[in-house]
């Protein structure tokens, strides 16, 4: 690699941005230089032994040459401890880790699908799409309005040319349905279905449907997966998901981004 992937990353800024999310900017020049959309970092939220393991968090953007930005949702003890860390202090960080989204092939139309808190890697990805004035469709699904990405995130996606469609299960924002329905409608209507390539991140159940939609339409689909992690570097075998060809794949090194067909979606 040549680049150092173990850092004591200083917190440059840290703030609440709504709907349970925080925005964290870390000084990490090596990571900023090399990170690819879809990659993640492992952050230790304590210098002590409880909470114990590092937390995997996607890279949301590269705001400068020397920093990376993370947007995280307070989900449990680790992330709530993280919210207390002040600018100026440093966090032990590993990364960038894993394989990101593959580059968009010429002629392909990227279509982004984010469920729940799955938007951070797609945001980084959107920031790197060079689409010459064309807007990238972004489908966002959540249980309800409160489960949607916070406003600054939506604004930033728009800035990068995303055309956002939203669906909530309870209809409190956007269309009242599963996000996969509006995705399916779009693919039916757009006429672009053939050239579309899906890039999805979100709960496993959603990814399973997205990958079925893609398979049914014979279009390519890349999913970014989540599983509990210990090492983040392929050593512990803790983060495995079932492979489509039997056996398992480690999310941290063979993923987190997989072509949907590589995985077993049956269970």
């Amino acid at each position: 690699m040549g680049l150092n992937r173990q850092h004591a990353a200083e917190i440059i800024s840290h703030s609440f941005i709504g709907r349970g999310y925080y925005r964290l900017v870390l000084r990490a020049p090596d990571a900023a230089r090399s990170a690819l959309p879809g990659q993640f970092v492992m952050l230790r939220v304590s210098q002590y032994l409880d909470p114990f393991l590092a937390r995997p968090l996607g890279i949301y953007s590269i705001p400068s040459k020397s920093s990376i930005e993370i947007v995280y949702r307070v989900a449990g003890r680790g992330t709530s401890l993280l919210t207390q860390m002040e600018p100026g202090s440093s966090l032990a960080m590993l990364g960038p880790l894993g394989r990101g989204f593959p580059a968009v092939e010429p002629g392909a139309t990227p279509v982004l699908v984010a469920g729940g808190s799955g938007f951070p890697p797609l945001h980084f990805f959107a920031s790197r799409l060079r689409r010459g004035g064309l807007s990238t469709p972004l489908f966002i699904g959540a249980r309800d309005r409160a489960g949607l990405p916070p406003q600054p995130v939506l604004a930033s996606f728009r800035k990068y040319g995303a055309k956002i469609s939203m669906a909530t299960e309870d209809g409190s924002a956007g269309v009242k349905c599963m996000v996969t329905s509006i995705l399916d409608d779009y693919l039916s209507k757009s006429g672009h279905a053939a050239s579309s390539v899906l890039y999805a991140c979100g709960p496993r159940a959603m990814l399973a449907v997205v990958s079925r939609v893609a398979r049914d339409r014979s279009i390519r689909c890349f999913v970014s997966m989540e599983e509990r992690m210990a090492c983040g570097v392929g050593a512990c075998m803790g983060c495995s998901v079932r492979s489509g060809t039997g056996g398992f794949k480690r999310i941290c090194t063979e993923g987190p981004v997989f072509e949907a067909g590589e995985l077993d979606w049956s269970s």
Binding site: F52, A92, C231, V233, G238
Partner: protein, 320 residues
């Protein structure tokens, strides 16, 4: 090293740089810091963070005769100051290990100890034989204590008679030094240490993980798909230190001590309790350079107190 340049070494010690080398079971380690099986992959995964030349040795992830795909996910769960794992010994099998993994490790000036595992006595023995003449292997660590594989492993490690049969079979099929990796999930770990000695083992590794379980109260399901798993990390260190101490007192085999080592001080507890070397396990996940931090901390500790050789510290716990 010891034989090649004794003067330089003596000079170094005189100058305050302590001798960290240890020798046991016919293996010379440049220092006592190893990596615990299953927590450091096959070395490659951490080679970017750790100069493997600096380690006393690498104990690789458990290898079986045939490839194993392991347990279904979820396989890990965080616990207070520790973690549960039920990997289920996923590994590519001995052939792939010898072809693809060992050559990488051979590039380094460090000792490679291969952790082996099977479902039957014959599998263990065949594996030992297969590894016997491979180049670049310093010893075998016989995992008779994995709590995550139903068929066999645990029974071997918790029943003296089958443990004896197993280790005797392994012994008869390899000339390599063998280390029995003992289970902590027993009433009297020293009884198994004696069995290992009687079966001709050259050393002991202890401890493996404690059998544990966690439940998601919202779903009523175990946190691990495998239901139970192995508890590792600092949470178990007091149990590990106790077992090393108990065993070192009464069985004259060298011990590789492990269980919750994060810092040099933790490692020194094991040495002072009677371990000849230590293995850093789960701590690698918190800090990929944990081994090197432990190593430099040990060196500093010895230098500060004017202890010339690490061995002078071994088993010095004062329990009077």
């Amino acid at each position: 090293m010891r034989n090649k340049m004794p003067e330089v070494r003596d000079q170094k010690s005189a100058m305050g740089s302590p001798d960290l080398s240890v020798e046991f079971a016919g293996i010379k380690l440049k220092n006592p810091v190893l990596t615990a099986s299953g927590t450091f992959g096959y070395g490659e995964e951490y080679a970017e963070f750790v100069d493997l030349n600096k380690l006393g040795g690498v104990i690789v992830k458990g290898i079986s005769l045939k490839p194993l795909s392991g347990n279904p996910p979820p396989r890990i769960w965080e616990t207070p100051s520790g973690m549960l794992n039920a990997i289920g010994l996923e590994n590519p099998g001995v052939d792939v290990f010898l072809r693809n993994k060992l050559p990488f490790l051979r590039q380094f000036d460090t000792k490679v100890i291969v952790n082996i595992f099977g479902y039957t006595v014959e599998e263990y023995a065949a594996l030992a034989e297969r590894l016997d003449d491979a180049e670049g292997i310093a010893g075998l660590e016989v995992n008779i204590s994995c709590p995550n594989v139903k068929a066999g492993g645990m029974v071997f490690g918790t029943d003296p008679a089958t443990t004896h049969e197993l280790l005797t079979a392994v012994r008869s099929r390899t000339k390599l030094p063998i280390f029995a990796k003992l289970s902590p999930n027993v009433t009297d770990v020293t009884a198994f240490a004696r069995v290992a000695r009687d079966a001709g083992c050259d050393g002991l590794s202890l401890i493996n993980t404690l059998l544990g379980m966690a439940i998601d109260v919202r779903t009523g399901r175990p946190r691990l798909a495998n239901c139970t798993g192995g508890l590792s990390g600092p949470a178990i260190r007091p149990v590990a230190v106790r077992m090393v101490w108990q065993t070192a007192k009464c069985v004259p085999l060298p011990i590789i001590g492990m269980g919750g080592i994060v810092t040099a001080e933790d490692a020194l507890e094991f040495i002072i309790a009677g371990a000849s070397a230590v293995a850093v396990g789960t701590a690698n996940f918190l800090n990929p350079r944990a081994t090197l931090d432990v190593l430099s901390g040990i060196e500093e500790f010895l230098a500060l107190r004017g202890v010339k050789r690490l061995d002078d510290l071994k088993g010095t716990v004062n329990t009077t």
